[in-house]
Every structure is written in C-alpha cells, then in structure tokens.
Symmetry: C2
Subunit: 188 residues, 2 copies
DNA sequence: TATTGTTATACTCTATAACTATA
DNA sequence: TATAGTTATAGAGTATAACAATA
C-alpha cells in the first residue's frame, strides 16, 4: 500500500471518529437538557443573552449560526414561555432587542448545571491535559473550516483566548502532562 | 475562581470546540458529496455494501445507526436510481438482501474520491501525528459514549490501556484491511 | 408469538423566498 | 434602495406505532 493511500486512510479514520464522538456526545448532552424542555438552540440563545446582555435577533442568529428565520422561531418559543421578551429599538424601530427575563435566568440557572454535568461526565474520560489537547486540535481544524471567527465561540464573559494550558497549570486533578503539545507547528 | 469551576469551563470549552469542528467539517464534506446527489446516509449504505457485500436491511440499519423505517426510505431512494437492488432471501422470505448494482459501484467510485479529498483537505491542517492523536482522543471519548462498539480502529484495536503521547511515532505500513472505507458517515 | 420490512404520522431542523415595516 | 424581522413552504432527518408477510 502506498504511503499516500495510508495517509488518506488515517485522515478518513480521524474524520469518522471525530464525527462519531461529536454526535454521540451531543446526543447525550441534549438528553440531559431535554427534561427542561430546552433545545440546544434555545439554550444557546439564553446563554448568549446571559453573557452578552440584550442583543438584536440578527446578532443572535450570527452568533449561533442560524438564519434569521430560524431565530424568529426560536425566540417565539422562548417568548411564549416567558423566558425572553422582545423590545423594539427606541430610535431605529427595525431592530428588536431580545432580553432575558428573570424566569429565563432561572431556567438557565437550573439547566446549565445539568448540561455541564453531562459534558463534564463525558470529558472525565480524558485527563485535563488531554481535554486541552483535544480542544486545541479541534480549534486548529477550525482554522480551515471557519477562518472567519475561529477565535472564540459563544464564550463566557472572560475570554482566555490566548493559548491555553499555560495558565495556572495546577487546576486539574489528573495527570498534568507537562509535554503539552508544544508544537503548534508550521501550517502546510 | 475555584479549581472545579475552572475544570468545568475547560470541559465545556473542549466540548463546544469539538462540536463546532465536527459540524463544520461534516458540512464541508457533505457539500463535496452533494453534487453527486448522495446524502451522507445513502453514501454510507453504498459504502457498507461495497465493503461487506449484500446485507439485510436491518444489518444496514444497525451498521449506520438508523431505524429500520429510515432504512426503508434510504434504500427506496437508492433503488429508484438503480444503485442498489432488493432481493428476498431464498429460504427465509422475511429478509431482504440489498445488493450494490454496477451503477451503484460506479457512483461510489466517482464519489468516494471527492469525499475523501474533502476530508484529507481538512485534515491537512494537522500533522500526521496530530491526526492520530485526535482520533485517539475521540476514540477514548467513545469508550464512555458508546461502550458497545467502540472497537474497530485503524491501528489500535487492542491497545487502549496505555496512555498516549508515546505511540504513533512510527509508521506501521500494512494493515491491509479489506474493509477500506469504514467511514460510517455521521448523523449530520 | 416473534421478526423483517413497510406505511403512516408527527415533530424538529434546515433552507429559501416573499413579504412588512422601517430607514 | 437597503435592512430587520416575519411568514410560508418545502425538504431532510428522527422517532414511533401500527401493520403485513413470514417464520
């Protein structure tokens, strides 16, 4: 078998494994949030509102990678349950700002832990160092996949956007591998 | 910030990055296959038939993680285009074996390279070592996510006991696997 | 009675375009 | 005219349950 053939197969293997892990993980996480009656998108909206404060629907749509039409539906559902409210912009009445209500905040408070518990449970299979490595490898893929905004998703307030694994190295209870992916080598 | 808090945020970060990378990658790969008029599931069926030979619909459903009802629809579409054909099992007439036709094989031949090109292009962002590491980390996650069938990889069907960072320095040329293209396309 | 595959239904997501109201 | 949001529609994907033919 040729060298190129083999490399190709390795790439396919990495891809399919990545896909399978991501899909099973998200299934498990969504299941954890489901009892609260929140879809992943709805949760994302609430979370974004919490971290950014009131924003326009379009901004939400962009942040979460949905169309404005989808965002209308998502907000509709959240508004119907009283978790967000809409308010026209005072001066430019084309805009609608979406606000998180107290109820919405409460839902988030009770949902977020269930969600992150599920995520932590999955990620517990990896050591702290491995988690960081996984994130870094994925971020690297995102450089090709999403060159635009490959610098932070819907990050929480304090963005530690700089290269991770450097800050306080004593936060993980498991083996902190010192040989942390020092490479970050030459693209191409 | 507490130790647990931080660990939690790291887990969330790893999770969201994984999800984003997987979803953008699959979008890109599906786009590469789309011109051929094949959905990911349809491609998966053809590929499975190629590597395993004729199988029952239920076997296909299990292999690809779809319900038998879904599989009926998928096979319907493929059969309508003449890429597979159904045939009742001779002795137990409840079973239907699905065969890849010559046309189906031809479609696969012209589609598979486009698909794997797309995957290789994405994975080219990583070094060979990083690709292997990514696959290994994901497979590790699958141990919790899918304990059943988390065995089938390309080069370590047994070695899961040791910790990484040590392996994959060498090229094990060979591993002539008959089941090339075991790519199990992911649910979206 | 159990199993294979089909049909029917319903609900979610996604993708688009046409529409409104504002600017 | 351009933009923000809404509505309508159509297509996939998913999840069930009821059903027919076969065992």
């Amino acid at each position: 078998m040729s060298k190129g053939e083999k490399k190709r197969r390795r790439a396919l293997d990495a891809y399919s494994t990545l896909q399978r892990a991501a899909s099973m993980a998200s299934a498990q996480v969504e299941q954890a949030v489901h009892p609260f009656g929140l879809s992943a998108s709805q949760f994302g909206v609430l979370e974004t509102l919490q971290s950014r404060g009131p924003v326009h629907q379009q901004e939400l749509a962009e942040a979460l990678g949905r169309s404005k039409a989808q965002m209308t539906a998502i907000i509709d559902a959240l508004e119907a349950r009283g978790w967000v409210r809409r308010e026209r912009h005072a001066t430019d009445r084309r805009f609608i700002s979406v606000y998180l209500t107290d109820d919405g905040r409460a839902v988030l408070v009770s949902t977020a832990p269930a969600r992150s518990d599920a995520i932590v449970a999955i990620m517990a299979e990896l050591s702290g160092d491995q988690r960081a490595r996984l994130a870094r490898l994925c971020r690297r893929l995102l450089r090709v996949l999403d060159p635009e905004q490959s610098i932070e998703p819907i990050d929480e307030s304090h963005a530690e956007a700089h290269d991770d694994a450097a800050d306080d190295a004593h936060d993980d209870d498991e083996l902190d591998d010192p040989a942390v992916e020092t490479t970050l080598p030459s693209p191409t």
